[in-house]
Amino acid sequence: MNTEYNPSELLICLASRVMEDGNTAFIGTGIPMLAASLAQNMHAPNLIAVFEFGGTGAILEKLPLAVGDTRTFNKALHASGICDIMESAQRGFIEYGFLGGAQIDAYGNLNSTAIGDVLKPKVRLPGSGGGNDVGSCCWRTIAIMKHDKRRFMEKIDFITTPGFISGPGAREAAGLPPNTGPYRVVTNLCVFDFDEKTKRMRLISLNPGVTIKDVKENTGFEILVADNVEQNAPPTEEELTILREKVDPDGLYR
């Protein structure tokens, strides 16, 4: 068994570890799907995966390739539609939501709409999709990001999906449901949570071989650092085996 791993495999394992057995997670395309499948095969056999277009409680035997493919409702407990899923989220039923984006700021706001002025964009991006809904309605959102200065910015060009917006109280003032918001940011360098008082991103753990300095140099805003920054364990042999042999045997993410 080759215990070397690539950045995607690390991200998948880190995201997987956040997922809780017997709880609900809103799963988007890509890394969250692999993470959910890995979690079901590891510590969270009863992770309830919820997919945007209607699948709830599937057994992820084969890796879904899109949020609406047949595998998202494989042996599922419920196959409905996007309204049922989004309304369940709005009603408070979905604990974790996974998000991505082209840009993120210190408050966990995400941009997946446009680089530059949205009315005359330099780069037109794919848009919110369900991202805004996940960020608005799920209890705890986890952003999975590639870590560099062009992505971790002091001021992003467009808030597609609200994080803590401008800081403490801003979500509530905007009318978003109380006690919701960004929970973790998982990157190829580290994991952040959010400071209770300022609602800004705070470094809590480092990936193997990464230093606080590395993180700072690759982040376009000032980061908070937890008192005890922990070390993220590298993917275990068990994780890698399951990931490569069971979750992604075709090696789409290698």
Partner: protein, 323 residues
């Protein structure tokens, strides 16, 4: 009674590309044919009879799954243009943008899923060929259909609050007259023409979908004209045996097109897999306009109809995709 009112706290700056007239929609629904008459026709006939340039159109699908690509290709070949689009899409929207047929978009997601940003989206939006883009979340767009399906002019939601998505939408933020909380109101959206591909339908348009149903229920009830394409045509007796499986009843439907492999190169639940080879080929072509033009010429313009396309793909390839 005293002069009470509900404060409008904020209004999005986006325009309402397709304002909903629910009374006109009622009149139209009243006139829709309720008789059990066959609506079977070809893609070309459906486009010819029910679509016109400038229409506000929409496709129901999830990513490349259950996508009525047969209708998209017929639409491109028809020469009709200047469409306005309900923008929740992947490959189908990409082809339409590649062919430069879209002028305005209610945009929630147009991309290539795990493959990211689409070259066609970038070229058309950044150049201004698409001259008006209004932003929404997926839920907001679907709830706009749902409002129309319910016959009401708006739906309330907590989504989009606090974001620039809201700012570039046409939603209005109010203070709830019952609870005092803030809500975004999103306006009903009625399509001129909607396109939905289903697992099976009878010739009248009673439709069944297996497994998840995306936004078929809502969008199917929010169209002035609804074109159904079906993997399989079944007898009405089969519909009547399991009426709880009908998701779109015939009276909503204007045309029924029989089209196996309609979603190709995308996949169809319970029927066939994605044609990964072709899709990868497509991904490489859409990067440049030249590549896209070549792709459209070879795989859309030069292929007269869906039957000819299936022949061009080849029997062996199609068989290999079967689930």
């Amino acid at each position: 009674m005293e002069n009470k009112c509900i404060p409008i706290l904020y209004e999005g700056e986006g325009s309402i590309i397709q304002p909903a007239d629910l009374n006109a929609f009622r009149e139209l629904n009243r006139k829709k044919n309720k008789k059990l008459e066959s609506k079977l026709m070809t893609e070309e006939e459906a486009v010819d009879r029910f679509v016109k340039s400038g229409d506000y159109i929409g496709f129901e699908l999830y990513g490349t799954v259950r996508s009525p690509m047969n209708m998209v290709r017929a639409l491109i070949r028809s020469g009709k243009t200047d469409f306005r689009l309900a923008g929740q899409g992947v490959h189908e929207a990409d082809l339409l943008l590649g062919a430069n047929l879209i002028r305005e978009i209610d945009f929630t997601y147009i991309g290539l899923e795990v493959f990211g940003v689409s070259g066609n989206v970038r070229r058309r939006v950044e150049s201004g060929d698409v001259h008006n883009v209004v932003e929404w979340s997926n839920a907001a767009l679907t709830w706009r259909f749902k409002a129309a399906a319910m016959g009401i002019p708006f739906m309330a939601t907590k989504c989009m609050l606090g974001s620039d998505t809201l700012k570039r939408s046409a939603a209005k933020v109010i203070e709830c007259p019952f609870t005092g909380e803030k809500l975004a109101l999103v306006p009903a959206l009625i399509l001129d023409v909607g396109f939905i591909h289903v697992n099976r339908a009878d010739k009248y348009g009673n439709c069944q979908i297996d497994g998840i149903s995306g936004f078929a229920f809502e969008m199917g009830r929010a169209c002035k004209k609804l074109i159904i394409s079906a993997e399989e045509i079944i007898e009405t007796d089969e519909i009547r045996e399991a009426p709880d499986r009908t998701i779109i009843p015939y009276y909503l439907v204007d045309a029924v097109v029989h089209a196996p492999y309609a979603s190709w190169p995308g996949e169809m639940s319970n029927s066939h897999e994605k044609d990964v080879d072709h899709y990868n080929f497509y991904l490489s072509k859409q990067k440049t306009q030249e590549g896209m033009d070549e792709y459209l010429k070879e795989w859309v313009y030069d292929v007269p109809n869906h039957q000819a396309l299936l022949k061009k793909i080849g029997h062996d390839k199609l068989e290999s995709l079967k689930l």
